[in-house]
Symmetry: C2
Subunit: 205 residues, 2 copies
Amino acid sequence: MEFSSKLLERAVNEMSQLPGIGKRTALRLVLHLLRQPKEQTTALSQALQDMRNTIKFCESCHNISDFKLCEICANPNRNETIICVVEDVKDVMAIENTSSFKGLYHVLGGKISPMDGIGPHDLNIETLVNKVKQGVVKELIFALSSTMEGDTTNFYIYKQIQDYKVVTSTIARGISVGDELEYADEITLGRSIVNRIPFETSLKL
Amino acid sequence: MEFSSKLLERAVNEMSQLPGIGKRTALRLVLHLLRQPKEQTTALSQALQDMRNTIKFCESCHNISDFKLCEICANPNRNETIICVVEDVKDVMAIENTSSFKGLYHVLGGKISPMDGIGPHDLNIETLVNKVKQGVVKELIFALSSTMEGDTTNFYIYKQIQDYKVVTSTIARGISVGDELEYADEITLGRSIVNRIPFETSLKL
């Protein structure tokens, strides 16, 4: 792609570093900014820099936060004896949106994935194990992706904490609400029969 | 969407102002920046602001440029007697990529579109008409989108310059190279038969 301006080229190149944004999309976005008032570009640039330079991670759960402790960890109404273990900040937001969980979270920052060079020491596992050692936590809920890497990470953490008095559980796998049986993959369908729940329980959900 | 940080929320909101970027995509992009070194965010913000604040538009053709005259207008090897009229900067880049045109361009900055409140005076039409009046230009090639708005704009410009000695042409409409006839729409197919070209000519392309 030939650019008539070095400034335009630099902006497009930087924009296309973002995941899923190719050169053509980047050009479309940058030309859009050129047609809008200067204030919009200033606001965007400023917001990105402020966020990158001053954002903090909660010292307890590693969620994104503006303060030392995030709003969830600092909330005295949350149940500190149950911790939901998630990969990413996005997962905290997704679970919070369901309003079905009133415990605390622990953000690992990824999954153990030797293929990508990510080992247990690249993740926030040690702080989680320390929390369990302190004895306040009664249950850990593993809410990681249902992949090889997710299962490996669950098992690694389970091994680290199995000598302590803590219940471990994992979120239910099964047929999504609204899904048709014939399109479900056989592993999910098989597990949903093995792990069936009393009909009376399902009525209450 | 509930955010655990105001800084994150502001960055996501600003990012989602861009066309085709919703809140979820914006969040994904912003979290990606958080995982990358700070320098990447600084470089992106700086490139966008530098571009927005210091970019110029060529005084002659209104293309984006770092100087008063863009590289194309300033190039003495380009044929200044043929002007290709386009809607947008992207169209200049697209035609330049084909290396098939050695004249100059004129960027209108849009199409006449009463539905969107864009009239002839919102576009760079007056400067084009003035160029024609000066008598150097021998041919205008209309290379606008083949839509109602594009045709209206072509016709408006044609009316303004029809008293001057200038040939007007429009880019060929027809079946795209590689396309199968059965999938072509009937208007395009019909026009491609009416505007057929000698077979010998097609061999030379």
